[in-house]
């Protein structure tokens, strides 16, 4: 089994990896807020199932966000923070306030997941390039979750 790099190795504090972690942190926080907004405002025949599904998704994101931020700290760097900073960094489109079709909430979240997924892939590859296997492993788990969640959301949009 390959040993991990020493704690003071350059690979552990590579700024590319930290930047990618902070971007993905912002994505995850923004996605959590979007999902929470959908959880509150969704209406219609699919209300109960969507309301519950969105709750499970933002609960998962809340835990993930903490893991990402603490990974950044473990790399001896500082985590991004604050709603304004997260929104600006993530650049995700937000839902309007007011009534919105349930399918629009779902479609909007699919689009947001795609953005987060793309940045998780970039994080995975950045970590791999500097042999930061621990960060890479975390990113792979996140990628899998986005893929699974996207599949579920897209399934809801399919006409039966």
């Amino acid at each position: 089994m390959k040993a991990t790099a020493p704690a003071d190795s350059k690979t552990k504090t590579d700024s590319t990896v930290v930047a990618a972690l902070n971007l993905y942190l912002a994505d995850s926080y923004a996605l959590m807020a979007l999902t929470h907004h959908a959880h509150w405002n969704v209406e219609g025949p699919g209300f109960f199932s969507l309301h519950k599904a969105f709750e499970e998704q933002y609960d998962h994101l809340f835990e993930t966000i903490d893991e990402i931020a603490e990974r950044i700290r473990a790399l001896d760097a500082y985590a991004l923070g604050g709603l304004r900073a997260f929104a600006k960094e993530a650049g995700m489109e937000e839902f309007p306030t007011g009534p919105l079709a349930a399918k629009d909430f779902v479609a909007g979240l699919v689009v947001a997941h795609e953005k987060a997924l793309a940045d998780a892939v970039a994080l995975r590859d950045a970590a791999g390039n500097v042999n930061d296997l621990e960060t890479q492993d975390m990113a792979i788990g996140c990628i899998q979750w986005h893929q699974k969640t996207s599949w579920m959301l897209k399934s809801y949009l399919k006409a039966v």
Binding site: E93, A101, K103, D104, A107, G108, V110, V111, E114, K115, L117, A118, D119, V121, A122, R124, D125, A126, I143, H146, Q147, S150, K154, L157, A159
Partner: protein
């Protein structure tokens, strides 16, 4: 209509943008309609693509073509229609002018309405103009890019 979810790092952020650009989404829709052997969807998507690719097409023509496409394909391809709708809403807006001397009011477009007339009525309402507008009220759809060039 499901593009690969594993882009390489170099195109990771580009792919997220591509997934939401008008022509790319339209091409994905054409591919899906071809696979599904759906002539009505294929016709509507081709018509929309032709209009979109034609630089001289007016915003109103493009919006009307989108509404026709949406009526044909939305039930089977909701996500594609959503992406096209949001893309069009980012590319165009409405300009409402009340009277010859009135200051033009810029109104964000929302295309989640059943028909073109309803979209126009919403633009007028947003500009605080009665839908039964006077003869001197003008409503135009404008490309955001064209306005930036002018200003």
């Amino acid at each position: 209509m499901s593009p690969s979810l594993l882009p390489s790092a170099e195109v990771a952020s580009d792919s997220a943008c591509l997934l939401n650009s008008g022509l790319f989404v339209c091409d994905q829709l054409l591919a899906a309609a071809t696979r599904e052997n759906d002539p009505a969807a294929l016709d509507a998507a081709l018509d929309f693509r032709l209009v979109l690719a034609r630089r001289s097409a007016s915003p109103e023509t493009i919006i009307r073509a989108f509404l026709i496409l949406r009526d044909v394909v939305q039930e089977r391809h909701y996500l594609a229609c959503y992406r096209l709708r949001r893309w069009l809403e980012s590319q165009f807006h409405a300009r409402v002018q009340c009277g010859r001397c009135g200051e033009p009011i810029r109104v964000a477009l929302r295309l989640d309405l059943p028909c073109f007339e309803a979209i126009c009525d919403r633009c007028l309402s947003a500009a605080l103009v009665s839908p039964t507008r006077g003869r001197l009220t003008q409503l135009h759809f404008v490309r955001a890019a064209d306005e930036q060039l002018v200003s």
